[in-house]
Amino acid sequence: MEAVEQFIYAGELTPLRDRMIAELADVNTLCATYRSRIYRYALLSLRDPDLAETVTQDCFLRAYKAREDFRGDCSVATWLTRIATNLIRDSTRSRKFQFWKAASSTADEVGAMADRLRSPGLSPETFLMIREELRGVWDAVENLPGKQRSVFLLRFVEEMELPEIATAMGLHVGTVKSHLHRALAAVRKAMERTR
């Protein structure tokens, strides 16, 4: 009975899966469609533009090489996110010795990013307040544990739904929700400190 269900399930998925594999085989279109998204996720996770570029390229290469293994049970974007998550985790483990570099450059990053948010209508006081809030959130996100940070980025930057995040991270939806609550609590505390 279970085998029959699997057969039916697989039969329903096949045309969709074929379309997705065809999408994965066209690397140029794939990159054009998803590069900015994967790069952004890697950049915000690693805070290193060069490493983020490497992870992005590796992600597409792996997806291309493993396209026949793609089961088609999630979207291509989710599958790419899952590959990127694994690559980011590996990179984070191998670059712990570079932590000092990332920590020392945080202040500059926040200052530069706050400048980008400056608009002509903002008063200097409001701008300073926003800058301090951003610094608090930025530091809080950076100091989150790996999974919490990934979940936070996927939800609030990539605007993925919880089940999608669960698939991409290989977690249960409940666990994703729990990570998000903890991440938001950390952000809230950081913002309270900047008051």
Binding site: D26, V27, N28, C31, R35, S36, Y39, R40, L43, L44, P49, A52, E53, T56, Q57, F60, L61, Y64, E109, A112, M113, A114, R116, L117, I130, E133, L134, G136, V137, W138, V141, L153, R155, F156, V157, L162, K177, L180, H181, L184, A185, V187, R188, A190, M191
Partner: protein, 166 residues
């Protein structure tokens, strides 16, 4: 009806779009909870704006990715293996050719030959009393040439000088 303020958990649930009618009703009535939720949403929003902006700028400064080798299925790995396989064979052939016994037989160096020939040429030129180019001058001074001792003493340095300048 819920009269208590929203707990931090409920505020987070609201930000996560897990909103209940009770929550929404309370927020319409409570300015404090509304401000707390708005503050949390604002923090997340400015983070997102800054992050997207930063990522876009970083991406704009990078050249577009080229995956031609992947797209065309270019066998880079196969090519590397082929080079790795052929290179030792070529080195072996080169080594065999270079150190073959027939190629190491003693051969008189070319420099020796040229040195011998040069010395022989010098001897020939020194042995000539008057070089061929100066034979016409000897006709101008017949008396000195007839006196053997004088002619010998004067002609020898002259010939040496000619050999040296040649």
């Amino acid at each position: 009806m819920k009269t208590n303020h929203l707990s931090p958990w409920e505020q987070e649930e609201y930000v996560l779009n897990q909103r209940t009618p009770e929550m929404l009703r309370h927020l319409t009535e409570c300015a404090g909870c509304r401000a707390a939720v708005a503050r949390l949403e604002h923090g997340v929003a400015i983070f997102r704006s800054a992050a997207v902006e930063w990522s876009s700028e970083c991406l704009a400064t990078r050249p577009p990715q080229r995956h031609a080798s992947v797209a065309k299925g270019f066998p880079v790995l196969t090519l590397r293996w082929a080079v790795a396989a052929v290179l030792p064979v070529l080195l072996l052939i080169f080594a065999l050719v270079s150190f073959h016994p027939s190629s190491t037989r003693p051969v008189q160096p070319a420099s020796d030959i040229s040195d011998d020939a040069l010395l022989e040429q010098v001897d020939q030129q020194l042995s000539v009393d008057v070089p061929s180019s100066m034979e016409s001058l000897t006709n101008l001074v017949p008396t000195e040439n007839r006196n053997g001792s004088v002619g010998a003493t004067t002609s020898a340095p002259a010939s040496k000088h000619i050999v040296q300048t040649n």
